[in-house]
């Protein structure tokens, strides 16, 4: 069992969600985050005072996946979320020791 975490551009979220569902991913957990990276920010001006805004809005997707699905999930995300311009984001996978479904108490594969 792995946890796949993807940071992507907000505008790509709907597409990625659909693609993942089409690829058989049944669930995911999503949140709004801000990213710092190579991608530059923008400047806002209020009454002449400049505010450099270097945090950029991103969407974070977390997906629990069985080991055999990890690569295909990552590939799907990379393929759909990529625009080729700086700031497209990262995807990474981390090991998971155990998973439980709260509703039923089912564990492991059965829980996702």
């Amino acid at each position: 069992m792995k946890l796949i975490t993807a940071i992507i551009k907000p505008g790509k979220f709907d597409e990625v969600k659909s693609a993942l569902r089409a690829a058989g991913v049944k669930g995911m957990t999503v949140s709004e985050v801000s990213g710092v990276g190579r991608q530059g920010g923008h400047v806002e001006v209020y009454r002449g005072a400049e505010y450099p805004i270097d945090l950029i809005s991103k969407v974070k997707i977390e997906i629990l996946a069985e080991n055999r699905d990890v690569d295909s999930v990552i590939n799907t995300i990379v393929k759909v979320a990529s625009t080729g311009s700086i700031g497209d984001g990262k995807v990474w996978a981390t090991p998971v020791d155990s998973v439980v479904r709260v509703r039923t108490g089912e564990k492991g594969e059965a829980a996702i």
């Binding site: 709907d14 709004e32 985050v33 801000s34 806002e44 505010y51 945090l55 809005s57």
Partner: protein, 430 residues
Amino acid sequence: MDEVVLSAGDTAWVLASSALVLLMTPGLAFFYGGMVRAKSALNMMMMSIITIGVVSILWVIYGFKIAFGYEADSPWYGSLSTSGLGDAVSELANNGGVYPIPLLAFAAFQLMFAIITPALISGAIADRAKFFSWAIFVALWVTVVYFPVAHWVFAFGNKVGDTVTGAGYLASLGVQDFAGGTAVHINAGAAGLALAIVLGKRIGWQKSPMRPHSLPLVLLGASLLWFGWFGFNAGSALGASGIAALAFVNTQVATAGAVIGWITTERLRDGHPTTLGAASGAVAGLVAITPACAFVAPWAAAVIGLVAGIGCALAVGLKYKLGYDDSLDVVGVHLVGGIIGSLAIGFFGTSKILGLDGLFYGGGTELLGKQSIGVALVMGYSFVVTLIIGFLIEQTIGFRVKSESELTGVDQAEHAESAYELAGVLKGGR
């Protein structure tokens, strides 16, 4: 003829009404601003604000004279001269008769109409217009569309004895429009349709969700519109009279009817009566009663409101069928509502009130015929001329923002600002 002296009471009501009508434009800004996504809320509101700026200045320079001058004795425009309002402190208003209110009070009141009309159009091009191009559009549009059309409809000319000079075309024809069904709403609605065509559909239209970002803001806008509209309609009596009171009651009752009409339609069609529907219904009712408010009885006002509420609730779906992105339904609410109200006079107008009988009071179809002419003329003129102005701007300085700016949000691109910073920690995290 007795000399007319200033009536402080009438003046008080017209000044109060002018302030009320001014408030409608920020009200519109909130109504529209709440309906778009957070990333373009500021631009939406700024289109209304700059309209106040541009039109007020032009009004003083030449707008008032194009609309209400009679020196050129033309049915199509007033005088082409500077307004010279500065010297008018002790002059009384003169428009088909002398009113016991200062000319400047009349000028202030009518200015507010000239402001809100172009502001209404902005709803058709939400999320995608260049701010500077919009400001230019407003200046051109009021000059060649609103000021002349206001003359056609609202200028009753200079009456000396029985001779009237310089009355507007529709006014002399006997087309009835108490507070602006044709000059304001049909005019803005047709222009909105034209601009929606010029600018084209938003990226992701009918695909991405474009939910209102703040319904409380929408409701605030609708409330200020409602409140201000008492000045718009009852103020159009140009005095604190029984007619003003009738217009006031009718405004209230029609709006109530339209709220009920719209949300009942929603309940039946979509399953739920919504807040956006109630706010939209209120505006539809206000629009529809505008031309008719002093010509019909309160029961008829309720019916007109009900019909407008149902009619506009159905009409806002048209754009999906016909394929134009009139983003905030300027056509569905203002054009359709304006037509309903203007024609309604032909049915419900009663001689008990103003000496005119509509179809339902046995007056035949004459009035209805005249009303149709008014509707058609204003709609056609506004649509064609707006299309031309719009294309001119699009071809020269460009009217639509870059698609990249549209995606990020037009607020950042055009104004370098964000509407909200509620988190307070991750500044600009969005």
